[in-house]
């Protein structure tokens, strides 16, 4: 996962690039014959100073290697943004980014 963030006029513009196949049930069935092999990011959160600033419950219909763009207020340069996602199989990934 890569995170880019930029503080501008009190708003932090953020781009999170996740590496994930985002395999749909239909693709799983086509590839392995088993729909249960579907795997995709199901939940992503971004927190700063212990407060959630972005949260999404997600489906198989996000593109492969999804990019999440969002903005939030209430942060200053030097604050650390924590982003974490979890997928259908329970895999987790966490990443940090210091606000510039």
């Amino acid at each position: 996962m890569k995170i880019k963030s930029k503080l501008k006029d009190g708003v932090v513009e953020t781009k999170v690039m996740a590496s994930h196949e985002m395999t749909t049930y239909d693709i799983a069935e086509k590839k392995t014959g088993n729909r249960e092999d579907a795997n995709f990011i199901t939940h992503i959160t971004a927190t700063i100073n212990g407060k959630v600033v972005y949260e999404a419950s997600t489906s198989q219909f996000l593109s492969k290697n999804p990019i999440f763009k969002f903005s939030f207020k209430g942060a200053k340069a030097g604050d650390v943004l924590n982003v974490s996602w979890v997928d259908r199989k329970g895999n987790k990934e966490d990443e940090k980014e210091t606000i510039k």
């Binding site: 708003v11 985002m22 749909t24 049930y25 239909d26 693709i27 199901t42 939940h43 959160t45 700063i48 407060k51 959630v52 600033v53 972005y54 949260e55 999404a56 419950s57 997600t58 489906s59 198989q60 219909f61 996000l62 593109s63 492969k64 999804p66 990019i67 999440f68 763009k69 969002f70 903005s71 939030f72 207020k73 209430g74 942060a75």
Partner: protein
Amino acid sequence: MQRRKFLSLGALAAVATMVPARLAAEDFRATKPDVWTSKDINDGIAKLYGKVPTPSDAVKLTIPKVASNGGQVPVDIATDIPAKTVALFQDANPESAVIVFNVYENSVVDYSIKIKMKKSGTMTVVVEGLDGKLYSVTKSIDVALGGCEG
């Protein structure tokens, strides 16, 4: 989060005393599993919110008129309505729900994502306001090459 909890306690004191305090985050796949298996936009909205939204110009959905690659359809969602949640649905894929955002005190509702669209269809964004009302916008899109393969 604190503000949301405060508002819900104030406005829905009776209800709030009956349900456990809302966690810092809510995974709607866990709390509203039926939303994600719904095959229809209106049904998906009903399963998530239990009511029908009112179309509003204050909900902005920016998508291309024609998507050349259905595997990477850019979707921009924005609103100035003080919001509790924001949800995106479409009718081109086997199920309608795409993503549900929880909005927090410091969140700015200005989201961009790329999604898969198997064929041409429509997208609906629903904004659940802090006032408890639902606001929506619906747009159609032509997909040249379907995108559930990639």
